[in-house]
Amino acid sequence: MNHVISVLVENKPGVLARVASMFARRGFNIHSLAVGPTTDPLFSRITMVIDGPDMEQIIKQLYKLVHTVKVTEMVPSETLEREVMLLRVSADRKQRGEVLDAAAIFEAKAVDVGAATITFEVTGDPARLADFLELMRPYGVVDLAKSGRIALSRDAKNRNGAKPTLRSA
């Protein structure tokens, strides 16, 4: 089973190498990985999708890295997850209209059109991207590039129906 963890690390040179090296050394598997800044320039967030199985040991080993500040295992029902996919599909002139219609259902954006292909950009949670891929497969998938997954937990106040607080200027 896949687990999504969010690792808050100090934004120091080589911190990604430390995380990757630890995973390699301990025989843990990384399914996908995304690294980016946070609101605080001193810290970065690494979002990882991991096969498990021993999540407790993986999290503890992450904490052993001196630059790891916080590790959160995301709860699927309380988490916003997004991936970006670029998908190139066969579409000659005859098929083009049908492919575009199908893509419109997913709000996929046609970002490149060639003589025999269309390339779509689609954003969403992993299930949505998988569905779009299945929809396009019969037309012929020529190429595919996918980002690592990023995730944030949902705002607890929103879940309770309260409105987000707006900070006054």
Binding site: G14, S21, Q61
Partner: protein, 572 residues
């Protein structure tokens, strides 16, 4: 008032501020600026003959003194030669700081002369490591390095400093407040867990206190003994914990595991509660994990949360420093017991005594036969009263030393446990003696180990560090040969070293040491006495030992600790 220093000067001053008195190392091109200022410092530099040796010296120093050992090397081959010593210290949680020179910043990544990616190579075998980008960082990096090496679960930390950074100038400033938002090792255990632990201990009928090297590292030996006495618990001491409780103590059972004594191994196996402190269920202790101590509940105290539950699920996990948690356990027990005595557990102690009486460790020295290694170890103990810092290499001699020596104090047993680094003995002894010059430092070494790092005896001679080395010459890589004899149909592939070459006496003399040799059992004691009387030079004593002797008890690799072989006849 500002003061301009070079990075190298700042480094030396930062080391002095950490209280460093001794550095082991070898200079080279990329660390020349630092070595230049080392001449003007009060820090003593001990010039090793190989960087691996320098690294083990730092480790031996740390083992013996409890302080951080410091090693210095140049870039490239200097740094790569250190790697074995770093991994060794990493596995045994020994506080070591390694300073390496690196090629100039502008050359990094260009395959410059003596360039190696030290930061990358050392990453998995250190607790943490640094590549210093500017001279200005040096005070903070050194402060952090010593803090990380010596706190929490100790370990090696490497600081790689490019040559231009050593030469660059900076305005001297002391290290600021530690800024390590991701590093907050726990010290005290959770009070609720401490209570839960005492609940289990009070109910247990066959408990065993499983003491590991963490007790020694935490300086918690005295607390361990007090807790064992207060709760009336028998104690096993792992290879890394020998000396954590005196072997002469009535509650001490000695070493468990693959080559542990029968009582210690079996006590764990049959116990209903393992009170594990600073130990990590290493495969050399547990044998087949599935079959290990099947009835035992587990209390696991460790400063490293990742050790808890890694191998064996803990019923009561306690994250904390061994000394702090032992103090809490003693306190909680005192509250709980009031004026009542701890459970007597008469049946359990009667069983343990019965095992001890029926499975005494044998040392059968035939007066006309070849010298048995346990006999040498026991004679040395008799002649010194055990008042020695005992060091060892890795192999049969190490197991015999751990089994047959009676340890009475912590920090008097220095060996390579986790990594099993052959050749550890001589340099570790040099480091220990450099740190504890008033103690007798005696290394029990094998002939295979000796030949790996013997050049450090030149270091010992020239630096006037009078260590004593016993070479147990059985002409082979004994423990490997033992496995070939038992499990590979006596096919001795590449384990025969031959006992004639080298001539250890001449070799010792060539390196500035006194060389002695004992060939017959009746020469053992007089030769040891001679060695003990020499205190102005290192001494090497060769013992021509039984080439066919094997270490027992033994549990086969991956076998269950229920099946302890007491001799070769039990394995056929």
């Amino acid at each position: 008032m500002s003061e301009t220093l070079t990075g190298a000067q700042a480094l030396i001053r930062a080391l002095e501020l950490e209280g460093v008195e001794v550095v082991f190392g070898i200079p080279g091109g990329a660390i020349l600026p630092t070595y230049d200022f080392l001449l003007d410092s009060s820090i003593r530099h001990i010039l090793a003959r190989h960087e691996q040796g320098a690294g083990h010296m730092a480790s031996g120093f740390a083992h013996a003194t409890g302080r951080v050992g410091v090693v210095m090397a140049t870039s490239g081959p200097g740094a790569t030669n250190l790697i074995t010593a770093l991994q060794d210290a990493h596995m045994d949680s020994i506080p070591v700081v390694a300073i390496t020179g690196q090629v100039a910043t502008a050359s990094i990544g260009n395959d410059a002369f003596q360039e190696a990616h030290t930061w990358g190579i050392s990453m998995p075998c250190t607790k943490h490591n640094y590549l210093v980008a500017s001279a200005d960082e040096i005070p903070d990096v050194i402060r952090e390095a010593f803090h990380l090496a010596s706190t929490g679960r100790p370990g090696p930390v490497l600081v790689d400093i490019p040559k231009d950074v050593q030469a660059a100038t900076m305005e001297w400033h002391r290290a600021g407040e530690l800024d390590l938002p991701g590093y907050k090792p726990s010290t005290r255990g959770h009070p609720r867990q401490v209570k839960a632990a005492i609940d289990l201990i009070q109910e247990a009928e066959q408990p065993v206190l499983y003491a590991g090297g963490g007790i020694i590292r935490a300086g918690a030996s005295d607390l361990l003994r007090r807790f064992a006495e207060a709760a009336n618990l028998p104690v096993v001491t792992t290879l890394m914990a020998r000396g954590a409780i005196p072997d002469s103590h009535p509650l001490a059972l000695g070493m468990p595991g693959m080559h542990g004594n029968y009582t210690a191994t079996t006590a764990m196996q049959q116990s209903d509660l393992l009170i594990t402190i600073g130990a990590r269920f290493d495969d050399r202790v547990t044998g087949n994990v599935e079959a290990f101590a099947p009835r035992a509940k587990v209390i696991h105290v460790d400063v490293d949360p990742a050790e808890i539950g890694k191998v064996r699920t803990a019923d009561v996990p306690i994250v904390g420093d061994a000394a702090a948690v032992l103090g809490q356990l003693i306190e909680e027990l005192r509250t709980r017991l009031g004026d009542d005595p701890a459970p007597a557990r008469e049946a359990w102690f009667a069983t343990l005594r019965d095992w001890q009486e029926h499975h005494l460790l044998r040392c059968d020295q035939d007066p006309n036969g070849p010298i048995q290694q346990p006999y040498v170890i026991e004679e040395l103990h008799r002649l010194t009263g055990g008042n020695v810092i005992l060091v060892s290499g890795v192999g049969q001699h190490q197991m015999w030393a751990s089994l047959h020596w009676g340890f009475e104090r912590p920090n008097t047993w220095i060996n390579s446990g986790g990594l099993g680094t052959m050749g550890y003995g001589i340099p570790a002894a040099v480091g220990a003696k450099a740190g504890m010059p008033d103690e007798i430092v005696f290394a029990i070494d094998g002939d295979g180990c000796f030949q790996m790092t013997m050049q450090e005896l030149i270091t010992a001679s020239t630096e006037k560090i009078p260590v004593k080395i016993a070479v147990m010459n059985n002409g082979s890589l004994g423990l490997v040969k033992q496995w070939q004899q038992l499990f590979y149909n006596e096919r001795y592939s590449a384990t025969e070293l031959g006992s004639d070459i080298p001539d250890y006496v001449k070799l010792a003399e060539a390196m500035g040491c006194v060389g002695l040799r004992a060939e017959h059992p009746d020469e053992v004691a007089p030769t040891l006495e001679k060695a003990l009387a020499i205190n102005d030079r290192p001494v090497v004593v060769e013992f021509l030992c039984d080439p066919d002797a094997m270490v027992f008890p033994m549990v086969t690799a991956g076998g269950s600790n229920d099946n302890i072989a007491l001799g070769p006849e039990d394995l056929t």
